[in-house]
Amino acid sequence: MPQATRPMVRAESVHKRFGRLEVLRGIDLEVQPREVMMLIGPSGSGKSTFLRCINHLEQINAGRIWVDGELVGYRQVGTTLYELHEHELAQRRAEIGMVFQRFNLFPHMTALQNVIEAPMLVKRVPRGKAVERARRLLERVGLAEKADAYPAQLSGGQQQRVAIARALAMEPKLMLFDEPTSALDPELVGEVLAVMRQLAHDGMTMIVVTHEMQFAREVGDRVVFMDGGVVVEQGPPAEVLANPKHERTRSFLARIL
């Protein structure tokens, strides 16, 4: 069964520079299907950048990333990489859901319109079917009655839950979460984490950049600690968070807990 052994994400010595600043300095990682990977680390460690490289929102400068066996951003012929055309990039991105720190809902559309927009525009799903599916998704994130509300009329937690429903509407095989609760008031964090917990329970492959250590411990299959653009340490949450092997992990956890 080659399907079962193929990783959902594979990164091979990924490098990324912003000008002269080297943000990623050789990342090697694998994420298995149905796995929930928690990316932790101090700000500026490159974890968000790495996440954005997976769906090619950022172009990498060296190395390669595969999602579900397909090279991200390029077509490889021998030792030459051909940049993919915009339409091919879009097609691959459509299969990867992404949730942003600042929600990035479309403010001129209602919650329902936010959720049906991409399926109708990108996947050509007929309106009736898209609406029916969107209502089910909004119900799943506990916002069935907010379908006709504009983002400005929703709390931060509600907006982020709509954003999750919007990403799920594309039926992604992988979900990327970029600090999904960092912009929320403390009392609203729980409702978003509950939705993510359910999603993990349902078997979604997830990569989550987070500062919520309790959540990482409970929901993550694996915790990866990044610092200075490299992976310092990784393993089961209980191990990494409770008995970190590296000094840098220890001092980070001491500061955050």
Binding site: L57, E95, A118, K123
Partner: protein, 303 residues
């Protein structure tokens, strides 16, 4: 210490008297009254003539032409503006430079010069207007330039191209005002840049673009009077055609001005409602309109 009063007493509040303002208002009112009296007693304006020409068929035709050329030039300007705004933001240097040149040239020269250039200059330089394959002798279609460059064509070209340059900067400002996260969210959902622009960026940019478009349109209603120099029969041209034969110069200028005032007033009211429509998703959209306020107060009166 003020005298003690019983707890819960209602006080009388005396607003401060602004004597300077009262004196100034009196002086201004006097000046206005004096001007009005001077106007009324003068023999230059004959109100009967104004009334007589207000609904003259030539004037009404000119009014229709003013409305038509303003709307048409505005539409040309908006289409060109969106086109050149997107072009100027292109990562391709040639496209950005060509757009930059267009904006620089058409904003940097007077509209009046551009109008005369299209009407008189172009037919003098180019004899024929031809459609063919450049740098070959293949021609699909050709006509004399003087036949093509009618007063209407010159007005639309002059006003439209000039407006396009201003609109390009307005549209570009609107696009830049949209949060970058919107582009990322759209891309992450699998939209290509054209879809992102059409469905996500432009609708949000509209909120920023609409108020200046309203101002541009109100300005265009008046600027269109410049088309009179290329003999286009808009409002001012018709008024001047009439006064050059009957010599009621001031009366006809008053007639034209009254119509311009009506047009700009109607346009201002329209602008208010259009802005409201594009403010969807913000608090501004939920506020009641002046018309709704009037209706609400009328309902109160009936009770």
């Amino acid at each position: 210490m003020a005298a003690d009063v019983e707890h819960g007493t209602t006080f009388t509040v005396v607003p401060v008297r602004r004597y300077g303002q009262i004196v100034l208002a009196g002086v201004v009112a006097l000046l206005v009254a004096w001007l009005a009296a001077a106007g009324a007693s003068s023999h230059f304006i004959n109100p009967a003539v104004v009334g007589q020409y207000l609904l003259n068929p030539l004037i009404l035709g000119g009014l229709a032409n003013t409305i038509f050329v303003s709307i048409a030039a505005m539409l040309i300007g908006i289409v060109l503006g969106v086109f050149f705004a997107v072009m100027k933001m292109s990562s391709n240097t040639v496209l950005a430079a060509v757009s930059g040149f267009y904006i620089w040239f058409f904003r940097g020269t007077p509209v009046l010069v551009q109008l005369i250039f299209w009407f008189n200059g172009v037919p003098a330089v180019f004899h024929d207007l031809a459609l063919g394959i450049p740098f070959t002798d293949v021609i699909f279609f050709s006509m004399p330039m003087v036949a093509f460059m009618t007063p209407l064509a010159a007005s639309l070209l002059g006003l439209g191209l000039n407006e396009g340059a201003y609109m390009a900067e307005i549209v570009r400002g609107g696009i830049l005002a949209v949060d970058e996260g919107q582009v990322e969210a759209a891309q992450a959902l699998g939209m290509v840049s054209a879809q992102t622009m059409r469905r996500i960026i432009l609708p949000q940019a509209m909120r920023v673009i609409i108020p200046p478009i309203g101002n541009e349109f109100i300005s265009m209603l008046k600027t269109s009077s410049l088309a009179s120099v290329v003999t286009f029969g808009e409002l001012l041209r018709r008024a001047s055609d009439i006064y050059s034969s009957n010599l009621f110069v001031v009366e006809l200028l008053v007639v034209a001005s009254l119509w311009y005032l009506l047009l700009t007033t109607v346009a201002s009211i329209g602008q208010y409602y259009v802005e409201k429509r594009f403010a969807r998703g913000t608090a501004r959209a939920e506020r009641e309109t002046p018309w709704q306020a009037v209706l609400r107060n009328l309902m109160k009166l009936r009770r």
